[in-house]
């Protein structure tokens, strides 16, 4: 019954209530949208990192990542790779020879990471084959094809079919070089990646480096769903002995860290908005009890307990805040749902965003958990705002209140 009375009380002063409600709605709407926006950006970054750069799981010789030396290869890697391919939840396994070295064109050179891969396997693990902007993914060039990123292509001033030279140190530490032709140029939403990663065929690089057959430096695995990553990783660990088996979170903890931080950052933003709203709500409710001084005095005189008066004020404030809050959440969710399917185009900041690895096309992403948290925060804001006015209300002396003309 108290709730009905409180609700009707809110609308006794329509303009004033509408002002506060609009403020809460706008603030919460903006908060929900911003959170969905940031989450969308972060989710995409992680997705790109996993599907294009890191994959879910990587296996190396235990010394390879620290030293990056050619001699720390995994012998018999192809046997291991084929065994892993049969495991449940594994969508693709690829083996890579990795060399840090130089690629040069007629104009200039650049330091890059060169990966010798088997295109058919690699396609099942990364999506670079779908991000070609020129040429094809290892088709069209018969001898020594190479696939490079667009930023690198610009730097070297080369196009498809251009000749480049890859210079590297082989297994015996001799400097050797090979001529390659650009078969295709790719572009991901991470220009730093595009600039430093080059792909050639496994056989061609094995020949240049003199690596023994069946060996490689890195096995990369794609899992059907990120939730299965850890279980697949555990299964693999049982059969790999001293090899290092890492999930993407272990290889790049900063990546999952950014996501967590952004989440916290957004909650703080919403808290700050609620804090700003707090002042407005307190002022409004103070005005409310002042207006109803006589009324409250009368209620007290006819026997309404002070506790109930206190509760009445609190419920009224919480109802006010909730109405605004829920409207804000609904509107914010609707807008975010729209942008879940339509991109927000930030290409004017494209270069800057892509340098950090963020795509310039953003989709928003709503988390039901977030909606619940925001609602709870709004309720708490209402309660905290109500305390001061409610305390004042119950201190009213009924005899004095009734005496006012």
């Amino acid at each position: 019954m108290l709730i009905q009375v409180s609700w009707r009380n809110i609308w006794r002063s329509r303009t004033r209530s509408l002002v506060v409600l609009t403020a809460i709605t706008l603030g919460i709407m903006a908060g929900v949208f911003s959170t969905a926006f940031m989450k969308g950006m972060m989710d995409k970054r992680v997705e790109t990192a996993i599907h294009t750069e890191l994959s879910h799981i990587q296996i190396h010789d235990s010394l390879f990542r620290k030293t990056a030396e050619l001699r720390y290869y995994m012998p018999g890697a192809d046997v291991l790779a084929r065994k892993i391919d049969t495991l449940p939840h594994v969508e693709g396994v690829t083996q890579r020879i990795i060399v840090q070295s130089m690629i040069s064109s007629a104009e200039t050179g650049a330091g890059v990471k060169i990966m010798g891969i088997r295109p058919d396997d690699e396609k099942k693990v990364t999506d670079i084959a779908q991000q070609m902007v020129e040429g094809k993914y290892f088709e069209g060039i018969k001898r020594n094809p190479v696939v490079i990123g667009q930023k690198l292509a610009h730097k070297l001033n080369v196009r498809v079919r251009s000749k480049v030279v890859i210079t590297l140190q082989d297994m015996d530490n001799n400097l050797t070089a090979g001529a390659f032709r650009v078969a295709g140029i790719y572009k991901t939403s991470n220009t730093a990646y595009d600039e430093s990663n080059v792909f050639v065929r496994y056989e061609d690089l094995a020949r240049l480096t003199d690596l023994p057959a069946g060996a490689c430096h890195e096995i990369a695995i794609r899992v059907d769903n990120d939730l299965n990553t850890v279980s697949v990783q555990q299964r693999i660990k049982k059969t790999t002995g001293s090899l290092e088996v890492m999930s993407w979170k272990e290889i790049s903890p900063e990546l999952s860290y950014i996501t967590v931080v952004m989440d916290q950052y957004m909650y703080i933003f919403i808290l700050i908005i609620l804090l700003a709203l707090l002042f407005g709500i307190i002022n409004t409710m103070l005005m409310v009890i002042l207006e109803r001084h006589k009324e409250i005095g009368m209620l007290l005189a006819i026997g309404m307990s002070r506790t109930r008066i206190f509760l009445m004020i609190i419920i009224e404030t919480v109802l006010l805040s909730l109405t605004g809050g829920i409207t804000g959440i609904i509107l914010g969710t609707l807008i975010s749902k729209y942008f879940e399917y339509h991109y927000i185009n930030l290409s004017m900041f494209g270069k800057g965003l892509e340098q950090l690895g963020f795509s310039s096309l953003v989709n928003t992403s709503i988390d039901p958990e977030m909606v619940v948290s925001v609602t709870i925060m709004v309720i708490f804001t209402g309660i905290i705002a109500a305390i001061y006015p409610a305390l004042k209300a119950i201190k009213y002396d009924p005899a004095e209140a009734l005496r006012i003309e």
Partner: protein, 405 residues
């Protein structure tokens, strides 16, 4: 009748309400000002890190060099060019460089590196490279040794005193090859420089690349990035074909966009905050108006001009805004000044995430005046918009109804 005094007294008629409204503005101003200070401070630091260590504020190249960064697009530094440069008084330092690419090798390992031939003394005045030396010592004019980034040295397993082999392509296709002793190792806050840079005396570099007297760029320094535009303007008229003058924002568009996108995000957040606060002020103004309806009706009916009345109401709102802004800025100044002298250093996982993006893990603060007066400006504009309500209502005031309240 002094409307300023009357308006001032009016706002204190309900002390509590005025104080709460002022508090909301106070809070909003502090938050927005501290956030702006942190943003601008961080941007300046990001720009400084890249500009002071690498690009300089302005550079002069051979006109084709930027699109085609090959050793063949070098030029000779002539006295006439130097004279033209000194025409602008904003230029406080210059440093010639010969920059190119090479394969850096130790016994076991090879990596791509950027070789920069410098005039050690002049370069140090601009980039302070000497202070980043962690082992060994900085090079001097005539030195036959090199200094390199700590991550590059680490990768190649080299230290001070070891030999570094450099292989590249020189001027007009001549092979470039040389062996150098490592004189020193440096560690800059930004990892991208530590991973690939090798510095040597300019003459040594010109020898290596068979490019006697030639340089790729002339780096020009001014006091800070606010002084760059006038310098650029002054020089633009003198520097023509076959030379080209570029400013840091043209050379580092990614950085410019990163900053622009972050600034825009910040503007959005501050906008939401101020809108919420504005509604709070509006609520107070509505309350102030409606409770004085009778009083205003009386004043108008005994002959007060409505314009004068509107003026008083405007001043009241203005005072509340003024109070909030003044107290807010006064409170912000000690906070930002403290952090200006003691920037917040980030550590751990967070630091790694920053470094991953090529940004120094520190929150610097700015004390530039716009950080503060922008808040005052915003609040003032909001006040003017909010005043529309009481002013319109005053002019529409129906005296007979008002008197009957």
């Amino acid at each position: 009748m002094n409307i300023t005094v009357i308006a001032w007294r009016n706002i204190w008629r309900n002390k509590r309400r005025t104080l709460i409204t002022t508090a909301s503005i106070f809070f909003g101003v502090i938050f927005a000002a501290v956030m702006s200070s942190m943003q601008e401070g961080s941007y300046s630091k990001m720009i400084d890190n890249v500009v002071k260590f690498y690009s300089g504020y302005l550079q002069i190249h051979q006109e084709d060099y930027w699109e085609n960064k090959t050793i063949n697009n070098t030029f000779v530094l002539t006295d006439t060019l130097l004279q033209k440069v000194h025409q602008s008084k904003e230029i406080i330092g210059i440093s010639p460089r010969l920059e190119s690419f090479a394969l850096a090798s130790s016994d076991q390992l090879t990596k791509g590196a950027v070789v920069i031939g410098i005039d050690p003394e002049r370069e140090n005045k601009i980039t302070n490279t000497e202070k980043w030396i962690v082992r060994g010592r900085y090079i001097h004019h005539g030195d036959k040794g090199v200094i390199m980034g700590n991550e590059l040295a680490g990768y190649l397993h080299l230290d001070v005193g070891d030999t570094l082999v450099l292989l590249g392509m020189g001027y007009h296709g001549v092979n470039a090859a040389g062996k150098y002793s490592i004189t020193g190792i440096f560690k800059n806050p930004l990892p991208q420089f530590n991973k690939s840079f090798v510095y040597m005396d300019l003459n040594l570099a010109q020898d290596l690349y068979s490019a006697p007297n030639r340089i790729t760029s002339l780096v020009l320094m001014v006091k800070d990035h606010y002084h760059m535009p006038p310098a650029k303007k002054a020089l633009k008229s003198f520097i023509r074909s076959p030379y080209r003058l570029m400013s840091w924002d043209e050379m580092e568009p990614e950085l410019v966009q990163m900053i622009a996108s972050d600034r825009m995000g910040g503007k959005f957040m501050k906008a939401i905050l101020y809108i919420v606060i504005a509604f709070g002020i509006l609520g107070t103004v509505i309350m102030m108006f409606s409770e004085r309806k009778r009083e205003l009706g009386v004043m108008v009916s005994i002959g007060m001009q409505k314009t004068l009345l509107a003026g008083i109401l405007f001043m009241e709102t203005f005072y509340i805004g003024l109070l909030g802004v003044t107290t807010g800025i006064l409170a912000t100044i000690p906070i930002t000044t403290w952090f200006y002298h003691h920037p917040i250093r980030i550590a751990g996982e967070a630091a790694k995430a920053f470094l991953d993006m090529g940004i120094e893990p520190v929150f610097a603060f700015s004390l530039m005046p716009p950080v503060f007066y922008n808040q005052a400006l915003t609040v003032f504009i909001l006040i003017i918009i909010i005043t529309i309500y009481p002013v319109v209502k005053t002019f529409r005031l129906d005296i007979s109804n008002a008197l009957r309240t």
